[in-house]
């Protein structure tokens, strides 16, 4: 039973990692008053770029490729939403659609038709000495790929930056009231561009984490709605880095439940577990929305 619990917790943290990365990036983006529905496409582009990069240059090249792809897709979104002031929802949907098509074309162009399993170098778990030998939580928390440790570092840093620095204040000011921020000498466009680039880098890294640290290969459409789930996680975590990280853990647990169910042989249809994270997203949004206060300028042009 303890073994099953450790396996469950390990899977929870592993599946929560890409969600947390994407959601932390999106937290910054939404704090600037922009909602990036194109995050799904960013994750997908990051996943493909990481596999290509890892195949050519190893794991480091994989993560570099993921970051680059994330920044490129987010820039495309920023051109439409910030520079041209186009509709955020429609632009984001188009970017996701574009990424779905382009990654599909590139993947088939480079690796032939689907069905061939790619083998690339992957970022395996790294055990942290001493900490990893703590009973029960040691393995789940401290025998994980490097991207999980990036999340551990990112949460406090981001919280400090957002609430304790001028940059963080400028970000929040733009999201709450862009006109007031402009009057105070802050350029909302510049802040939003920066926020989107940061969010894109983390979104790309999320895809990279999914592909080369979790699944080990690329498949068309492998992001499977994680970008949208990440947006829900941001709302559930109430736009704060710590809250968002905790919300990501909840979703990781929901996804990890299927491994436990398989190992314990529960007689529940397999598809019910596949659907669980999506149903949970709906429930969480319904339960949390009433008490949430999103950035006042969110989604406005």
């Amino acid at each position: 039973m303890i073994d099953a619990l450790v396996v469950f917790l390990e899977a929870t943290v592993r599946t929560a990692t890409p969600l947390a990365l994407a959601a932390l990036g999106e937290t910054v983006v939404e704090r600037s008053g922009v909602i990036n529905i194109g995050l799904e496409g960013t994750i997908l582009a990051g996943a493909l770029a990481s596999v290509v990069g890892a195949g050519m240059l190893g794991v480091g090249g994989g993560f570099a490729g993921a970051l680059l792809a994330g920044v490129i897709t987010a820039s495309a979104f920023a051109v439409f939403v910030v520079t041209l002031r186009a509709d955020q929802i429609v632009s984001g949907t188009a970017i996701t659609l574009l990424s779905l098509g382009v990654t599909g074309l590139l993947y088939r162009g480079m690796f032939g038709s689907a069905g061939v399993a790619l083998t690339v170098p992957t970022a395996g778990p790294v055990a942290i000495p001493v900490l990893s030998s703590i009973p029960l939580v040691g393995r789940p928390l401290f025998v994980q790929p490097v991207t999980t440790y990036a999340v551990y570092a990112l949460v406090p840093l981001l919280a400090l930056w957002m609430y304790r620095t001028h940059g963080g204040l400028a970000l929040r000011a733009v999201g709450e009231n862009a006109d007031a921020a402009t009057a105070a000498g802050i350029s909302p466009s510049r802040v939003r561009w920066a926020a989107l680039l940061f969010g894109g880098a983390l979104g790309g890294l999320s895809g990279g984490s999914l592909a080369i640290a979790q699944v080990g290969t690329f498949a068309e459409g492998m992001s499977a709605g994680r970008g949208f789930i990440a947006i829900a996680i941001v709302a559930l975590g109430r736009w704060s880095p710590v809250g968002v990280a905790l919300a990501a853990i909840v979703f990781g647990a929901a996804s990890a439940l299927q491994f436990v169910a398989q190992s314990l042989g529960w007689a529940v249809p397999y598809h019910a577990f596949l659907a669980l994270p999506y149903v949970l997203t709906l429930l969480a949004l319904a339960g949390a929305t009433g008490r949430m206060v999103p950035p006042a300028g969110l989604g406005r042009r």
Partner: protein, 371 residues
């Protein structure tokens, strides 16, 4: 809702120039396809040739490929157009389509032996109702809890996909239990084909729905309410004559019903059985269909035929020129972005930025800008 202003901008600017825009869009599609072909190392002339012969190059291509593909695109495109007109960002047509397909299949298999005059309408209604029920969940979440429907409808898409995955391996699986698909539908729920082609009567139904939606939006009080809440929900609310929440919810239901109908029509007229990959993303392409159709029901039908031709042609270029058919997805996304950029740039030229104007005359920005 920001989409409302986009739609109005698009509709206003293209009022008398539909043909010109159509020609430009086709031209843009040709340019994008050629560029992608060159980029992917294929001969663009050969790719465009395959695209033409697979979509519009012969009566067979038109009636048995393009219009067959166009049918679910018109119906889901109408679902999206109607929703966007009301400011309801329903991007869940894919899930609503699957729900409709599953319901029509279940009803078709249960009513084996009954008269087709009865079972065909019943199965179509079952599909529409299932689509509406599927859309009612995000509709209710929006109305009761204010949950953003962009996220909830997409979550419902995934739930629908896994629900179909379960159904075709469980309750609806074919009796041998080998393949993850339902038994073939009995003849009594198959839609009649039109004159020796593969085109079924669902295409006529889709056109009728477009006419109906056009008439409702244009000439009825309900249509007026839909347009008003999309144009300015705050004005509608403060005028007090329109229950914004109820109108939005009903729009969700109607939008879902149209998408559900698309699913029913697809199983009853094309696939004749339910399986997971029933829809190659019709519900997502529908967004492009609706936007290119400027959210106008009749133009959406035309746009549905355009994208039907694109997808039929994409299938042909995969078959004949070896270019993956996801090419069509790239073209769709590029066309949406092209439209967005055009509308955004033109809107910027025409309307001065209120903040910039206010700062010129050193006054605070107009408070009315924030709703």
């Amino acid at each position: 809702m920001p989409s409302g202003s986009f739609a109005r901008g698009a509709a206003r600017k293209w009022g008398g120039r539909v043909l010109l825009v159509g020609v430009l869009l086709v031209g843009a599609a040709v340019v994008i396809v050629s560029a992608l072909s060159v980029f992917a190392g294929h001969d663009p002339a050969r790719v465009l040739g395959a695209l033409w012969s697979g979509s519009l190059g012969s009566p067979y291509a038109i009636f048995s490929a393009t219009l067959v593909r166009a049918t679910p695109l018109i119906l889901t495109g109408l679902a999206v157009a109607l929703a966007f007109t009301a400011g309801v960002m329903n991007v869940g047509a894919e899930g609503q389509l699957l729900a409709g397909a599953a319901a029509a299949t279940a009803l078709g298999l249960e009513t084996r032996g009954m008269s087709g005059w009865l079972t065909i309408p019943l199965a179509l209604i079952a599909g529409a109702v299932a689509g509406a029920v599927w859309a009612s969940v995000p509709g209710w979440l929006r109305r009761r809890f204010g949950v953003l429907e962009v996220i909830s409808t997409i979550m419902m898409n995934f739930v629908a996909l896994y629900l179909v995955g379960y159904l075709v391996r469980g309750p609806l699986q074919e009796p041998l239990g080998i393949y993850p698909q339902s038994s073939p539908l009995p003849d009594t729920v198959r839609l009649p084909l039109l004159g020796g082609t593969r085109l079924h009567i669902g295409f006529v139904l889709a056109l009728a729905c477009a006419l109906g939606a056009w008439w409702v939006l244009r000439a009825t009080a309900a249509g007026f309410r839909v347009r008003v809440i999309g144009a300015n929900p705050d004005a509608a609310r403060s005028a007090g004559m329109i229950d914004v929440g109820r109108t939005m919810f009903r729009t969700f239901l109607l939008s879902g019903a149209l998408a559900g109908l698309a699913g029913a029509v697809e199983v009853m007229g094309v696939t004749y059985s339910l399986y997971e990959n029933l829809s190659p993303g019709y519900g997502y392409t529908a967004i492009a269909v609706a936007l290119v159709g400027a959210l106008h029901p009749l133009l959406t039908a035309v746009s549905g035929v355009f994208f039907g031709a694109l997808e039929a042609g994409a299938a042909a270029i995969q078959r004949d020129a070896g270019v993956p058919s996801v090419l069509a997805t790239v073209v769709e996304a590029a066309l949406i972005l092209l439209l967005l950029a055009t509308v955004a740039i033109r809107a910027r030229w025409r309307r001065p930025n209120p903040v910039a104007v206010a700062s010129l005359i050193s006054l605070p920005a107009p408070a009315g800008d924030r709703s």
